[in-house]
């Protein structure tokens, strides 16, 4: 019989009863393995000692009270999206792309293309503080839905009424549920109206003076168009009846989203002026400013903001299209985002990054 592996010896140190009869017999008669077990055991004890920490006494009731009374996440851009109500769980991921786009257009405005349709994606690592700074844009104006998104869950592809057809999925990891639910989001339009008064108040709050606004900026509108979009949701959803409240569904393991790429338009404000103005705002960190400038002014790149402190990320390709992959291979969560033609695609879920890439490359 071959010698026992290091892994087996390590397990035997922790749980002597875990070894098989053959392993036990070998160990009893093999001086070499006995010596290795001794070394493995000493290493294990040594590391256990290194990692020793004082016990923590926790007050579970107090902690639970703190957690349940924690304020809800701030609504992005001053508007409460219908998808992110506290009870909404199902389509938070399913329409992550569409929601993310709303955040991303804020950076897109710095691309210089105010009547643009992105054709590719680009990675923009940012800190959480940078992202929070972006969310504060509601301090500089008012955002409202001109057309609210209508969200529906249906149990089969046949019942998808969206003008966007769901993609064909050629590969699904074996550990992902084969239960598929389809979600649709209608076209939605949000408008951001700049306000000089609000912007001045925001600057004062930061202890700074608002840079002079370009002519026409006060009251100028920025219109963002999202969707329509369709999502394929893999997981054992607490599936409601067709057309019922989507907020009662549970978390999916995997979502595949296909959406018309978002567009941004602003008839009143020149692109270069707006970029310069945005970069001058209080709260925009130097790193984000650099990232915005790095995007160039083609108006055809959709920046994918990645929180550098929480997620590994990389630029990659999906069927020859520039893509951004997020997450890692632990399976904790990962995703891939890319644009092909007039659609933006997202593959995301509690899967490994390599799996997300494989799924992406097998869509048709």
């Amino acid at each position: 019989m071959a010698h026992l592996s290091d892994g087996s010896l390590r397990r035997i140190y922790d749980d002597p009863d875990a070894k098989t009869g053959a392993d036990a017999l070998h160990l009893e008669n093999c001086v070499a393995c006995q010596a290795r077990l001794k070394a493995v055991s000493e290493d294990a004890r040594s590391v256990a000692s290194l990692l020793a920490v004082p016990d923590v006494k926790v007050d579970v009731a107090r902690a639970f009270s703190q957690v349940t009374s924690a304020p809800a996440a701030q609504p992005k851009f001053g508007i409460r999206l219908p998808l992110v109500r506290s009870t909404s769980r199902a389509l938070v991921l399913a329409f992550a792309a569409a929601l993310a786009m709303l955040a991303l257009v804020v950076t897109a405005v710095a691309q210089g293309g105010f009547s643009s349709t992105p054709t590719t994606v680009k990675l923009v690592p940012v800190t959480v503080a940078d992202m929070q700074a972006l969310y504060q844009l509601s301090d500089y104006g008012t955002i409202k839905w001109t057309t609210k998104p209508d969200l529906q869950l249906v149990p089969s592809a046949d019942q998808v009424t969206s003008t966007v057809s769901p993609p064909n999925v050629g590969y699904v990891p074996s550990n992902v549920s084969k239960n598929v639910t389809y979600g649709t989001m209608s076209k939605a339009v949000a408008t951001f109206t700049f306000s000089k008064d609000k912007a001045e108040a925001a600057a004062t709050k930061h202890g700074k003076t608002l840079p002079p606004m370009p002519k026409g900026m006060d009251g100028a509108t920025l219109t963002v168009t999202l969707g329509p979009a369709v999502a394929e949701i893999y997981g054992n959803l607490q599936q409601p009846a067709s057309g019922s409240d989507i907020t009662q569904a549970a978390l999916p393991q995997l979502v595949i989203v296909k959406s018309l790429v978002p567009t941004v338009s602003s008839p009143q404000v020149g692109a270069a002026e707006f970029e310069r103005y945005l970069l001058q705002q209080p709260g925009i960190s130097p790193s984000l400013a650099d990232a915005i400038r790095a995007l160039g002014s083609s108006g055809t790149t959709l920046p994918i903001l990645v929180p550098v402190q929480f997620s590994s990320h990389e630029s990659t390709t999906v069927k020859g299209n520039a893509a951004v992959a997020l997450g890692d291979n632990t399976g904790l969560g990962s995703g891939v985002v890319w644009i092909s033609g007039k659609y933006v695609y997202v593959v995301a879920g509690t899967i490994k990054k390599d799996e997300a890439k494989t799924i992406a490359n097998n869509l048709s």
Partner: protein
């Protein structure tokens, strides 16, 4: 409403069952009970925001998230290393004499720096196992086969020892 109440009840049960262990995992990384509770509460809030509390993967998700969140915090926050000495002194073995306490604090700092230099998965396997998770629980948390845990653990221990040695010899 019935669904919501049921889910809230399930979350409370999950919290009660797992909070101490999630804190323990974070504390194993950070050696700072207050920061460990911060991490644990963030992890639970994130879980509750996105997941069903009755999901069968809930404990494994929480354990893994606690390890990774704490490791992220460890890597991202140099301030921790500065705080650690004073923090650990407050929580340490009060029977140790000051010189031994200083040495213990220095050892803890070196170990945390070494953990922070390790790849996420080996660091997590060490932390989870040292926090008392069984081989089966570690396997579920990391999404690996139970037969791989011993090997991962052994390699991670070797790596940690090398990193600690490297850190103290610089």
């Amino acid at each position: 409403m019935t669904v919501a109440r049921t889910n809230d009840d399930a979350f409370e049960a999950l919290f009660t069952a797992e909070y101490a262990r999630v804190v323990s995992i974070a504390n194993r990384v950070l050696a700072d009970s207050h920061e460990a509770e911060d991490v644990a509460q963030e992890v639970f809030i994130e879980f509750h925001r996105l997941h069903s509390a009755s999901a069968d993967y809930a404990p494994a998700w929480l354990h893994r998230a606690a390890a990774h969140s704490a490791l992220n915090r460890l890597r991202g926050a140099k301030r921790r290393q500065r705080r650690e000495l004073s923090q650990a002194a407050g929580e340490g073995d009060q029977t140790l004499d000051p010189q031994k306490q200083l040495e213990l604090n220095e050892d803890r700092r070196n170990v945390r720096e070494a953990l922070g230099r390790m790849a996420p998965k080996p660091a997590a396997v060490l932390v989870l196992r040292a926090s008392g998770l069984s081989y089966a629980e570690v396997a579920r948390s990391l999404g690996v086969g139970i037969g791989q845990v011993g090997t991962l653990l052994r390699r991670a221990e070797e790596t940690l020892r090398k990193e600690v040695t490297r850190g103290t010899s610089i």
